[in-house]
Symmetry: C2
Subunit: 343 residues, 2 copies
DNA sequence: CTGAAAGCGCTTACAG
DNA sequence: CTGAAAGCGCTTACAG
C-alpha cells in the first residue's frame, strides 16, 4: 500500500517499515509513554487498572517493546553469538541443536554463524557489530585477533572443545587424550596389537590430544602406532583412509577421531570382508552420535557428553554475565567409554 | 577490575559493560562524531586523510559501530529469525546449516529458535521483540496468531515446507504428493503390489500430501494401500513401525515420509531377513539426507532439494525486502527420484 | 567537505 | 503512582 503510493522510483529502499511504538500505544491509551514502558517492566510502580488498560491496548495494536532500543540503555541484549563448527558434521549439529534450545530456555537468542565450512573473518567482524552479551566459539582455529576484538568490545568469549588462555575467557572441553586412552586400553586388553589411527585435520589441538591419547597409552605397553591418516571428519574421509590403511598394513585395531569417520572405516572394512569386524578388526569412534547406536553399526565409541557440555556452557555464561570480571574458568568434561559391538 | 572496585554489593547486575563508542573515537581522533559515522558509511563525503585517521584510530580502540543503535534510524537490522524444525532431525539440520551459511554470505544474521522439540509460543513472542527484517518458518504447525503478530510488527514471514495463505507472506515448498507418486510409480512398474506407508505426525500438511501421493497413484492402478503407520520422523520410529507392519502384513513395498524412518525400516527388515531388501521388499525414503548414499544403506529415495529451496528462500527474502508490499509468492520445488539399491 | 542538531524507540532517575 | 526530561549510540538532513 504505502511504498507503492509514493512517487519515489524504486531506488533500493534500505528503509524498514515502521513498527508500532510505545508512543503509539500511549496515545491510543491516553497515558504517558513512561507509563507504557512501566507496564512492560516487571515490578515497576503502576496503577493496576492502568497497567491492564495499557496491556490490552498494546495487544490490540500488536505492540512489543523494541528490544534493540531497550538495550541501548545499557541493559543486556540477550543476544548470544555462536560460531558453530561445521553444521554438516553430525556431532556439531547435535551439539548446536542442544545449545540453541538451552539458550532459548534461558531467554537468550543465538545469532548463529557458520553452518558449513570456514567462517570468514569478515563474517565474525560483522556479527561483532551487534552488542552481544557473549560469544560462544565451537571448535577449532579462530584467529587470535578475534579475542582482542572481543576484549575491546567488552564481549566475553566462551570456548567449547578447545582450551584458550585469555582473560575473561572461559572454556569447556572434553578430556580428549583420556578418551582415546580409554579406547586404546580396552583394545589392548582384548589382545589387539597392531593399531591404526584416523585423525581429523591436524591443525586442531583437540586432534593432537586425541592422537596423543592413543600413542602414549600404546607406549605404556611397549607398543607403537603402526600407521595413521588424517581426514576431514566425514564418513567418506574415514572410508578412504580405511581402504588405504587396510591395503597397506595388517591392522587389528583402528581408532578414529570421530564417529562419522569410524562409520566410514567400518563400512569400508565390511566391503572387504563382511564379518571382519569385530572378529579380526576392532573399530572405535569418538563422540557417540545418534547413528552410532543404530543396529546396522552398533559402534563402540567414546562419548563426548553433549548435555553436560551444554549445561557447563550455560553455567559459565550466567556466571560471566553476573560478574564480568570474575576469574577465567576451564571446565573439563570426562568422556565415557561406550562398549558396543565393534571391538 | 571495575565491577569489583565499587562498593555496590553483588545485586544481580543487569548492566552490560560499556563498549567503545563513536564519541570515544571522535575524541581520540580530534574530529566530530558525525565524521566518525561518515567514515563507516560507504560513499559518504569525507576527506580521505580524515577517513584514514578515523579508521586507524577506530582499529586501535577496537571500535565497531553498534548495529543496534544504527538500526534505530530505520535501516534494516539484517537480523533474520529462523524458527527451525527439529535440529535433531537430519534433514532439518542439513537444511538449517545451508540456510545459515547462505544468510551469512548475504550479510544477514540468523537468530535461531528451536533446536529440538516444539518451539514455545512464548519463545516466538520473545524473538519478535527484536526488529527482524524477516522471519523464516521451517516446517509445521505454527499458530495462526503468529502471522497476525508479525503483520502488526511489519515483519514479513517466509514459510518453508508448508504453504500458508496470508498477505505479504511468501512460501517455498516441495511438491510432496509428486514425490511419493514418483516413488509409487517406480515400485508398481517393478511389480510391487502390496504397499505399506510410514508417515510422520499426521498433523503436518506436508504429511497428508505425501500420503495422498501414494494412495492416489495406487488408485490409478486399481490398487489400495495395505497399511500405514505414523511415527516421529526418527530411525527408531521407522524401525518400530516396520516391525509391526512386517509382522502383520505381507508387504512387498514400504514408502516412508522421510529418510531417517526409511533407514529404520530398512534396518528392521534386515534384522528379520538380511537379504530381503530389495529381493522381496522395496523401501523408499524421502529427502535424500547424507546417510542415504552410504554404502551400508544405499537407499532409494526422493530428493527434497535443499540447495534449491535455500536459494529460493534467499531470493524471496531479497525481493520482499526490496518491496515490502509486493504480491505474495509461492515457489514450488520439484522433488527428484534417486534410484539406489533398495527398490 | 564538515559540525551542530534533531531524532530513532526505549528506560530511568527526577520531581511532583 | 505518574509525567516530563535526559540520555543510550547511532544516522541524517541542515546549514555552513
Amino acid at each position: 500500500m504505502s511504498g507503492n503510493g509514493t512517487s519515489k522510483p524504486s531506488t533500493l529502499t534500505q528503509r524498514r517499515p515502521r513498527r508500532v511504538t510505545a508512543s503509539d500505544v500511549a496515545k491510543a491509551a491516553g497515558v504517558s509513554r513512561s507509563a507504557v514502558s512501566r507496564a512492560f517492566t516487571d515490578g515497576a510502580y503502576l496503577d493496576d487498572a492502568k497497567r491492564t488498560l495499557i496491556k490490552s491496548t498494546a495487544l490490540q495494536l500488536g505492540y512489543q517493546p523494541n528490544a534493540l532500543a531497550a538495550s541501548l540503555q545499557g541493559n543486556r541484549t540477550n543476544l548470544v553469538g555462536i560460531i558453530a563448527g561445521d553444521l554438516g558434521n553430525h556431532y556439531d549439529s547435535e551439539f548446536v541443536a542442544q545449545l540453541v534450545s538451552g539458550l532459548n530456555a534461558a531467554n537468550k537468542w543465538p545469532l548463529v554463524l557458520g553452518g558449513s565450512e570456514a567462517v570468514t573473518e569478515e563474517a565474525i567482524r560483522s556479527v561483532l557489530h551487534f552488542p552481544l552479551d557473549v560469544l560462544i566459539v565451537r571448535g577449532g582455529s579462530i584467529q587470535a585477533s578475534l579475542i582482542d576484538d572481543c576484549a575491546k568490545l567488552n564481549i566475553p568469549v566462551i570456548f567449547s572443545g578447545h582450551v584458550v588462555d585469555a582473560p575473561n575467557t572461559d572454556c569447556v572441553s572434553c578430556r580428549n587424550a583420556m578418551g582415546t586412552a580409554l579406547a586404546t586400553e580396552l583394545l589392548i586388553a582384548k589382545g589387539r596389537r597392531a593399531f591404526g589411527y584416523v585423525g581429523g585435520p591436524p591443525s586442531r589441538t583437540s586432534q593432537t590430544e586425541r592422537l596423543t591419547g592413543v600413542t602414549s597409552q600404546l607406549q605404556k605397553h611397549g607398543l607403537e602406532l603402526v600407521a595413521h591418516r588424517h581426514a576431514d571428519f566425514t564418513f567418506e574421509g574415514g572410508s578412504l583412509c580405511a581402504q588405504e590403511l587396510l591395503a597397506a598394513y595388517a591392522l587389528d585395531a583402528i581408532i578414529c577421531a570421530n564417529d562419522a569417520m569410524a562409520l566410514g572405516v567400518l563400512s569400508a572394512a565390511r566391503i572387504i570382508d563382511k564379518t571382519a569386524v569385530p572378529r579380526d578388526l576392532s573399530v572405535i569412534g569418538f563422540d557417540d552420535i545418534a547413528m552410532a547406536c543404530w543396529p546396522d553399526f552398533n559402534l563402540t565409541t567414546i562419548r563426548n557428553p553433549i548435555e553436560q557440555t551444554v549445561s557447563e556452557i550455560l553455567r559459565l555464561l550466567e556466571a560471566r554475565l553476573e560478574d564480568p570480571d570474575k576469574a577465567k574458568e576451564v571446565s573439563m568434561i570426562d568422556p565415557i567409554l561406550i562398549e558396543r559391538g565393534t571391538h
